[in-house]
């Protein structure tokens, strides 16, 4: 208006826009940046494995068995991370193995996500008896020892990539369900759901249109955790011989194959284990980081 009102305004620091705050939080979050960086490298390596990999992952070269990696005595730049007991290039197999781990993580999280999110939404939205039944399902699921049941079922129906994904997908949904149930219960009491109801929206419509976008944060965070969980479980199953079958280059299977030569060539298990550790670590860091930066108070 006019200058008569100017003196009344109290200068305030300009409030940064929400997206700017978010961007700032992301870049200031060390864990998220480190995790995101490692994960990006692994994902790129997996995506461009055919271009990056120096050899064929299945090509055996019995003359060049257990060549050590380049930094050890007897290593050479021909095989940067050495070769395995069948003379296959380790770096090549690790790059292709990343594809398996990421595929398992993504596919399992997708299947368990669909199951868990649906159950969580239904339980949280309808409450009452429906909620009791779903809580009972969750409790029952938690009582089943995951690794043991996964091993048994995979063994019974025959191990393959698809079986592992399906079995893990049908076992790891409970955290999705619990988290989504709790968030839905909280959101249900908020006004906008009532507003949608008042406008005559049906229950299913309300669930999908109003709740899912608001639950996106929790869903992404749980999805990262379950991806990491699935990747470790697949590695353990493959390590025990009941997961991915040879000659596929699963990292867990590579550790298992290297185990026979544990006494003589320990790096055969060290290297795939370190990759597994880095992948799971980076996914966990990204998940924790996303939870921190999207939390209302910005921390914990």
């Amino acid at each position: 208006m006019t200058d008569t009102t100017d003196f009344r305004t109290i200068p305030e620091l300009p409030a940064p826009s929400p997206s700017e705050v978010l961007r700032q939080r992301i870049f200031q979050h060390r864990g998220l940046m480190i995790g995101g960086g490692i994960l990006a490298v692994i994902v790129l390596g997996a995506l461009f494995a055919p271009v990056l990999a120096p050899y064929d992952p299945y090509l055996q070269d019995l003359a060049n068995r257990t060549v050590p990696p380049v930094w050890m005595d007897g290593g050479s730049w021909a095989h940067v991370l050495g070769t395995d007991q069948l003379g296959r290039d380790y770096l090549t197999r690790l790059l292709y193995g990343a594809r398996i781990s990421l595929l398992i993580g993504l596919a399992t999280a997708a299947i368990s996500g669909v199951i868990g999110i649906s159950l969580g939404l239904i339980a949280g939205y309808f409450g009452g008896r429906v909620d009791n039944v779903i809580m009972f399902l969750i409790t029952t699921r938690l009582a089943m020892p995951v690794i043991l049941v996964a091993l048994a079922v995979v063994a019974l129906i025959g191990s393959s990539l698809t079986t592992v994904i399906l079995v893990l997908g049908f076992l790891l949904w409970e955290r999705f369900a619990l988290v989504i149930r709790a968030s839905t219960m909280r959101l249900r009491t908020l006004e906008y759901v009532d507003a949608a109801k008042a406008q005559g929206a049906g229950s299913v419509w309300i669930l999908i249109r109003e709740l899912i976008p608001n639950l996106a944060n929790s869903i992404i965070v749980v999805a990262t955790l379950e991806m990491a969980h699935a990747i470790i479980l697949e590695a353990a199953l493959s390590f025990l011989g009941l997961g991915i079958q040879p000659p596929l280059p699963s990292w867990g299977l590579m550790v298992s194959e290297g185990r026979e030569l544990l006494l003589f060539v320990p790096w055969l298990i060290t290297i795939p284990g370190v990759f597994l550790f880095l992948l799971v670590l980076s996914i966990n860091l990204v998940g924790d980081g996303l939870r921190d930066v999207t939390a209302p108070d910005g921390k914990n």
């Binding site: 100017d6 003196f7 009344r8 305004t9 109290i10 200068p11 305030e12 620091l13 409030a15 910005g298």
Partner: protein, 333 residues
């Protein structure tokens, strides 16, 4: 005569993601023995932070950056944690706002009443028990022995606040700070609690600082009052001075927003328009000017000092608008 508590130039800063927030700025406050002093203001004006600073329980991100808090000649702002905890609950005690959450759910009332007494070496268990029972009866709790052995869940909010008062009195403190002691309670219970508080105060000769946003509470119990706005004291004096002859437009606005005051006929409350400014970063000039009907360009130029309106009655405003000027009593804010 020296004051029991004397706050000089107190400044409290809070670190926030957006920058430093000046929660309390250049606050002076004196409380004599036997006095009841009320600190009034809207929420977020720095009342509670002031109270926490007095008892040395500021949240981690808040820091006293200037000034002194003299309690019986001891500067609390310079005291270390050990020194403070010897005073806390002993020479000065605090009563908090939320009686429902202020008691530990897993310990009996008796344990919580007596532990401070035992900690400060006031006597043995038997003495602690006897004093606790005596005080429980004094604050108006019947069947004191039964309550002593109960857990908080079996007590109503009003009873819990009475327990909190008894707890504050356990070590015969000189000063009790009550932060919104009645806000969370039913109206009928509020009156009873206030009556109990002022009765005990005169009986035991202690000083009381009551933090509140409720002018009804002030009128009922206070001797002196300090009005705070946006971290600053804007007016201080006796109750009759401050509310009979207000010097600061904010005090006037507060009075008008009380039920049954100015707009009695319309049964509506007048509300001060606008909001408290963000205290992040440095602010110069009068902090109320964006909501003030009397603001002039000079209000924005420099910080305003307290000036004296009459003996013991000071206010922080450039415009001497108090003396029955029509816009102050009848004007609309």
């Amino acid at each position: 005569m020296t004051s029991l508590l004397s706050i000089q130039g107190l400044q409290v800063d809070i670190a926030t993601p957006g920058g430093t927030l000046q929660a309390v700025k250049n606050l002076n406050l004196d409380v004599q023995r036997g006095e009841t002093h009320c600190i009034v203001g809207e929420s977020g004006c720095g009342k509670s932070i002031t109270a926490l600073a007095m008892i040395g329980l500021l949240p981690e991100k808040a820091r006293i950056t200037a000034g002194s808090i003299l309690f019986e000649q001891q500067n609390l702002a310079c005291l270390n944690e050990a020194g403070l905890s010897n005073l806390r609950g002993n020479r000065m005690a605090m009563i908090f706002q939320e009686p429902m959450t202020c008691l530990n759910p897993t310990l009996t009332i008796g344990t919580q009443l007596t532990e401070g007494f035992l900690r400060h070496g006031k006597g043995n268990r038997k003495a602690a028990y006897e004093r606790a029972i005596m005080l429980l009866e004094k604050v108006g709790i019947s069947a004191a022995d039964k309550r002593f052995h109960q857990y908080p869940y079996s007590l109503s909010g009003g009873l819990r606040q009475r327990v909190m008062i008894a707890m504050a009195l356990m070590c015969e403190p000189d000063l009790i700070i009550a932060d919104e002691p009645t806000t969370a309670l039913d109206v009928t219970v509020q009156a009873q609690i206030l009556a109990t508080l002022s009765e005990l105060k005169s009986e035991m000769g202690l000083s009381l600082i009551v933090i509140t946003h409720d002018l009804g509470v002030v009128a009922r119990i206070a001797d002196n009052v300090t009005v705070m706005y946006a971290g600053e004291a804007v007016e201080t004096g006796t109750v009759s001075q401050v509310f009979g002859n207000p010097g600061h437009p904010y005090t006037v606005g507060l009075q008008k927003s009380v039920v049954g005051s100015a707009d009695r006929d319309s049964q509506r409350l007048s509300v001060i328009p606008g909001r408290v400014p963000s205290l992040v970063g440095g602010l110069t000039g009068c902090r109320f000017r964006n909501r003030c009907p009397h603001a002039i360009p000079k209000c924005a130029e420099a910080d305003i000092d307290m000036s004296e309106l009459e003996a013991d009655h000071t206010y922080r405003c450039l415009r001497n608008v108090s003396a029955g000027r029509p816009e102050m009593t009848g004007g609309v804010l």
